[in-house]
């Protein structure tokens, strides 16, 4: 199935987003947009600003200046609509160690006000093959299983916009393949996907667009096929190098 047709209004838009930590500028005037049915990946070295950008898109961090608009609404003023539509996976799992996987999903599902919660929880557990471990305390799970539980939490409310910060961390090869399959399907379902990864080839295999960040600035934002790999310092394994 081809990706859903892009609508004229972006689902997510940032305008001159800047973030300072003290005197250090973590992000400098980042302006970008993402439409429904689009998938993009953030790529850049450590400290490029990927995590800071993702945190600001989810309103976990406040911009020093600039705006984040979700469906045309400023998330700082009216973030409820965005929060109901965004699924976010971060380095932290956002899960209570003293509760089981099932109890965590029940808790967050209730906060999202989901109808048919049991069915949605089972669907999320099945999506990440966690049904058999649903009664295990999160603190007793391995890092990889905690990541799968965290992914189940993020997909529980069937988000329209999926934001993932290094989502493959700790996952075994089978789980990586399952997640890749799931992420490929999102644009077909009219959902938007933005994720960060250190593995360029993995990102390139999943997304249509590359957003390259370095030292807090966007170095490239556009179709992967047109990316100037050489000037971005990206050496690809198999694809011919562009330098436009």
């Amino acid at each position: 199935m081809p990706p859903a047709k892009q609508t004229s209004n972006p689902m997510l838009e940032t305008r001159n987003l800047t973030k300072f930590f003290g005197d250090l500028a973590a992000l400098k005037e980042v302006s970008l947009s993402l439409h429904r049915g689009e998938s993009a990946f953030l790529y850049g070295p450590n400290g490029a600003g990927k995590t800071t950008l993702l945190r600001m898109l989810t309103s976990l961090a406040r911009p020093s200046s600039g705006q984040v608009l979700f469906d045309g609404r400023d998330i700082e003023r009216d973030g409820t609509h965005a929060k109901a539509a965004i699924g976010f996976v971060s380095h932290a799992t956002f899960l209570y160690g003293e509760l089981t996987v099932l109890e965590n999903l029940q808790f967050f599902g209730k906060l999202f006000g989901l109808n048919g919660l049991e069915r949605k929880i089972n669907a999320a557990l099945d999506l990440f093959d966690m049904r058999e471990r649903s009664a295990v305390y999160v603190q007793d799970l391995s890092r990889g299983l905690q990541q799968r539980a965290s992914l189940a939490r993020a997909f529980l409310h069937d988000p329209d916009f999926v934001l993932l910060d290094e989502p493959f961390t700790g996952l075994d090869s089978q789980s990586v393949r399952n997640l890749e399959t799931l992420l490929r399907r999102l644009p077909e379902q009219g959902k938007a996907l933005l994720f960060s990864t250190h593995d360029f080839e993995q990102g390139a295999a999943l997304a249509q667009r590359l957003i390259a960040l370095k030292a807090g600035r966007v170095r490239y934002n556009g179709p992967l096929a047109l990316a100037p790999f050489k000037s971005l310092g990206i050496v690809r394994n198999s694809e011919p190098e562009n330098d436009g």
């Binding site: 989810t58 976990l60 929060k83 956002f94 003293e98 939490r153």
Partner: protein, 225 residues
């Protein structure tokens, strides 16, 4: 109704976690009892002296036991960034505040009952003659203190020296609640020498409600970075 359900969910989650690890209540009760017990040795004086000083001992024990509880309350939220996880949901931050505050209020209330019961035995003081008045003072005093503990606990949770920070941040403001609570409790235990039992309760209720409402309104700014 939806708001009440969300508050209940957050409150029930904290109760469930406490039921599993039993860390918060146990540490609050043991610490509070220790303070009440140790001060018992200092009171050798007349009954009037005991009635004058016991409220200070009790509220100091409540205050420090509360700090332990508030720190523990946000320890589970800090691990795995669960507080951030809650803010990712479309829930009004003030409901998160109310759910957390309710849990803190219940934990501190239970610890207070234990401490007061122990104080009645060790100090040979009966709280029964002014029980209604004392319950009201304890309720409002604890409400305001738990509200401040919840908001400052959330602030301190993201700082490096969080255990120290909570005390440093909270006590200068909680001082007013504690001072009025001690004063009113002392009056109640001594049979209201001024004859105005309502005034003491009203003062504690007034200042506690002001701090509770202010904490409720400001909590969303605390959750922001």
């Amino acid at each position: 109704m939806v708001s009440l359900r969300i508050i209940w969910n957050i409150f029930a989650k904290d109760l469930r976690i406490e039921w599993r690890n039993r860390e918060t209540l146990a540490s609050m009760c043991v610490f509070g009892l220790l303070i009440v017990f140790l001060f018992n040795f200092a009171f050798e004086g007349a009954r009037e002296e005991t009635l004058r000083l016991l409220p200070s001992v009790l509220w100091v024990a409540i205050a420090f036991a509360g700090v332990l509880g508030f720190n523990r309350s946000f320890a589970s939220e800090r691990d795995n960034a669960c507080l951030e996880g809650m803010t990712l949901t479309p829930v009004d931050p003030s409901l998160i505040f109310l759910g957390k505050m309710l849990a803190n209020l219940v934990f501190l209330g239970v610890a207070e009952v234990v401490m007061v019961f122990a104080a009645a035995l060790w100090y040979n003081v009966s709280f029964l003659p002014a029980l209604g008045q004392l319950v009201l003072i304890a309720f409002f005093g604890t409400l305001g203190y738990a509200a401040l503990g919840t908001i400052f606990g959330a602030i301190a949770a993201n700082t490096r020296m969080r255990e120290v920070m909570l005390t440093v941040l909270q006590f200068p403001i909680a001082f007013w609640i504690l001072m009025l609570s001690i004063d009113s409790t002392s009056d109640a235990l001594r049979g209201n020498p001024s004859g105005d039992w309502f005034g003491g309760v009203a003062r504690v209720a007034g200042i506690s409600l002001v701090f509770t409402i202010a904490s409720f309104l400001l909590f969303e700014y605390v959750l922001e970075e």
